[in-house]
């Protein structure tokens, strides 16, 4: 089984290195085909491992290389395939393989086609390291690797100019009504990268604390000894690790980068900013569950923050007209759900929602990519409409994904999301339950608002310029497996539970079957209510918000993302820029540079002055010689050992 592990891990790397060879050459179709083929190889290896772990319950644990071995420090490059990581591996490879194939179609006309695949496969490799590592250091390498690849892919179209700042809500880069996802791709890439570095510092501190107190970063060793530590220390470790998770999973207050990351090509949003990388934070909490179980107070904080983000993000999605941002907010909101589950100790539920969410959210994004492709990169849902008859397959797939996202029986979202609500109710966290319940309704509403605006109603696009068309058949074929999984992934709940509870703690919740069915009914009711409201209102009015509504403060707050980007700009970016300018002009130029320049100038000036000695005039030379002798004599008298 070891060889399967290595195949699953290294096939994407081989693909990436291969594509890198051609990264500066014009589009070559075989680059996309070969990287996709290698991803499928990785997928097959992962599925083989999944079957093996499921059927034989053996954990594959290899120590590939020594990395740091000094004294008592022993950090290897080790990989473990257990019930948790194998689920992640399969999710990651399925989604990435399909996204790779989809990208062959999506990036068809892009002149950096080859470079795209180099980054994309490098991302998958980093993600595999992240999920498969058997220690925190390896996880951190993968963690930074995905961050780097995310940077390269968000800023993939780095040559685009910055757009002008505007107060107009329809034009501002911070508003969700504008056609711009952020100021520019390179700006968004840097924002994502820097925000993540800030959060990663927290994670590093957590890791240092672990290493300092336990002397190892290997999962099994850390988890077996964590209970022996001081309670306050465990709280600190858990909190710092969670700060890292907050950054990667874009939880409040690090959430603004995710919406701006929509600058990247849409397959990137599907793979990185919906299905895999942003769930790494959830994965970290699940992986380190034995740390978080010991400190339930941190868990409650995680759950509360998750619920807060779930509701906040969903509310922002209500008014947005930027298609990708709507889906990004929905991702944010679903990540909140996962953190609620993880925070309340229902780790396998979080993992389950992570998996089902990866399928339906990635396919939703891929569908959005098809729509944008068909409408000359239009991103405003109000400028689409009636596309269902032009692109029926995409419409069908996106509708399926939206139903799954809304959590309607029997699609995947129903099983996982309902379970989270059940966990919240069963843990007597009624406030969290209420928040999530409302969010479920909002989710259903905004998902179908998007579907209605894009695929139904009147055609609002410019008929002279835009001729919507269905995408290539192979792209639809790549989306189909994900759509099927969006439908049926939830049906395997039983097998899933049986497998992962070998590693993760089982659910400790007791609700009577009456309450259980009531909960399902109540949740389904609000989700259906949201969908029906969205459909009926659209059929009746063709729009959702009246003109008076748009002048109201609450609308503006939501459209401006609660003014959070503005807040960050005013509180962090601008003062930091000021501080940097101060350090540059006052400290750097006037002190450090002045000292360095002063030394150089002194030497230079001394040399200049000294050239008069070299006049070639013998009597001057003699004079200097006389002075020299005089000085030597003085030195001899002063320091010489004369009796």
């Amino acid at each position: 089984m070891e060889s399967y592990l290595y195949i699953a891990l290294f096939a994407p790397l081989v693909g990436s290195l291969f594509a890198t060879l051609f990264s500066n050459s014009p589009k070559k179709l075989f680059v996309g085909v070969i990287t996709s083929a290698l991803l499928i190889v990785s997928l097959i290896a992962s599925i083989t491992l999944l079957m093996d772990v499921y059927l034989t319950e053996t954990i594959v644990h290899v120590r590939m290389l020594d990395w740091i071995v000094i004294g008592n420090v022993d950090i290897p490059f080790g990989f473990v395939v257990d019930q948790v990581s194998v689920v992640m591996m399969v999710v990651v490879t399925i989604v990435s393989a399909m996204v790779h194939i989809h990208s062959i179609g999506y990036m068809d006309h892009d002149k950096s086609f080859n470079r795209f695949f180099a980054w994309l496969s490098a991302f998958v490799f980093s993600m595999m390291i992240l999920v498969m590592s058997d220690n925190f250091a390896g996880l951190f390498i993968g963690w930074e690797g995905v961050g780097l690849c995310s940077w390269g892919l968000i800023g993939f179209w780095y040559h685009k100019e910055d757009i002008k700042r505007s107060k107009n809500i329809e034009e501002s880069p911070y508003s969700t009504l504008s056609p711009y996802s952020s100021k520019s791709p390179s700006w968004a890439a840097n924002e994502a990268f820097i925000m993540n570095r800030v959060a990663d510092l927290g994670m590093l501190i957590g890791m240092f604390l672990i290493f300092w107190n336990i002397g190892s970063l290997q999962y099994n060793e850390v988890f077996s000894k964590i209970g022996t530590l001081d309670h306050g220390l465990i709280v600190a470790i858990a909190a710092f690790l969670f700060i890292g998770a907050m950054g990667k999973s874009a939880q409040f207050p690090f959430n603004t980068w995710l919406a701006n990351a929509m600058e990247g090509p849409t397959p990137v949003s599907a793979l990185i900013h919906a299905a895999t990388m942003v769930t790494a934070g959830v994965y970290l909490v699940i992986r380190a569950n034995e740390i978080f179980t010991v400190v339930p107070e941190v868990g409650y904080f995680i759950a509360s923050l998750g619920a807060f983000v779930a509701l906040g993000a969903a509310s922002m999605a209500l008014v947005a007209t930027n298609m990708k941002k709507i889906i990004a907010f929905s991702t944010l909101s679903q990540l909140g759900y996962m953190f609620v589950a993880a925070g309340l100790g229902a780790y396998w539920v979080a993992l389950f929602h992570l998996a089902t969410h990866a399928f339906f959210k990635s396919v939703l994004f891929l569908g959005a990519g098809n729509v944008m492709h068909a409408t000359n990169d239009e991103i405003n849902i109000k400028k689409m409409g009636g596309l269902a008859k032009h692109m029926p397959q995409t419409a069908l797939i996106m509708t399926i994904a939206s139903v799954a996202l809304a959590g309607i029986f029997p699609l995947a979202g129903f099983f996982s999301k309902d379970l989270i609500l059940e966990v919240a109710y069963g843990s007597h966290a009624y406030i969290l339950w209420t928040v999530l319940w409302i969010t479920a309704g909002l989710t259903a509403f905004y998902s179908f608002r998007l579907v209605m605006y894009v695929f139904h109603g009147k055609e609002n696009y410019d008929h002279n310029k835009v001729h919507p068309h269905e995408t290539y058949p192979f792209v639809i074929a790549a989306m189909t497996p994900l759509a099927i999984l969006a439908i049926c992934a939830g049906w395997f709940e039983h097998q899933f539970v049986e497998m992962v509870t070998k590693v993760l703690p089982p659910l400790d919740i007791h609700v009577s079957s009456l309450t259980f069915y009531t909960l399902i009914a109540v949740t389904t009711a609000i989700a259906l209510g949201g969908i029906i409201f969205a459909v009926v209102k659209f059929k009746k009015d063709g729009t959702y918000y009246s003109e008076q509504m748009k002048d109201r403060l609450c609308y503006k707050i939501l459209a401006n993302q609660y003014y959070l980007p503005h807040f960050w700009e005013a509180v962090v970016t601008k003062p930091y820029a000021k501080l940097s300018e101060f350090s540059w002009k006052e400290l750097d130029l006037k002190i450090i540079d002045a000292i360095v320049d002063g030394i150089a100038k002194g030497i230079y000036g001394g040399g200049e002055a000294g050239t008069s000695m070299q006049s070639g005039n013998l009597s001057k030379a003699l004079k200097w010689m006389g002075i020299g002798i005089f000085i030597l004599v003085i030195l001899v008298v002063a320091f010489g050992n004369l009796k």
């Binding site: 006049s615 070639g616 005039n617 013998l618 009597s619 003699l622 004079k623 006389g626």
Partner: protein, 104 residues
């Protein structure tokens, strides 16, 4: 040692004074001939010192050395004056400041 109260110190002081005079001349004079004179004065100041110390220690080496210096000084002056005459014939002056072909 020496009679009439003239001690080694007196000789050395004399030697130093003459050396200083010679050095002053070497530094201040621009005329090459004067420069030679000054050099000779300095050499002879050293000779006085050598001879005095030699007598003081009762060791003849110093006086021998003084003879060597006189001999070398004589030959040096001979060569130097020869060059000086050549230089004067070519340039029509023996000013030190005109001797500047190696400017740094």
């Amino acid at each position: 040692m020496s009679d009439m109260g003239i001690t080694l110190n007196d000789y050395l002081i004399l030697s130093t004074i003459i050396f200083m005079i010679g050095m002053y001349g070497a530094l201040r004079r621009k005329n090459l001939l004067m420069l030679f004179f000054s050099t000779e004065i300095m050499l002879n100041a050293v000779n006085i010192g050598m001879a005095a110390i030699s007598k003081f220690h009762g060791d003849l080496t110093g006086q021998m050395f003084a003879f060597f210096i006189i001999a070398i000084a004589a030959s040096e002056v001979a060569i130097g004056l020869g060059l000086l005459v050549l230089w004067y014939k070519r340039n029509n002056n023996i000013n030190l400041d005109s001797l500047q072909s190696m400017k740094g």
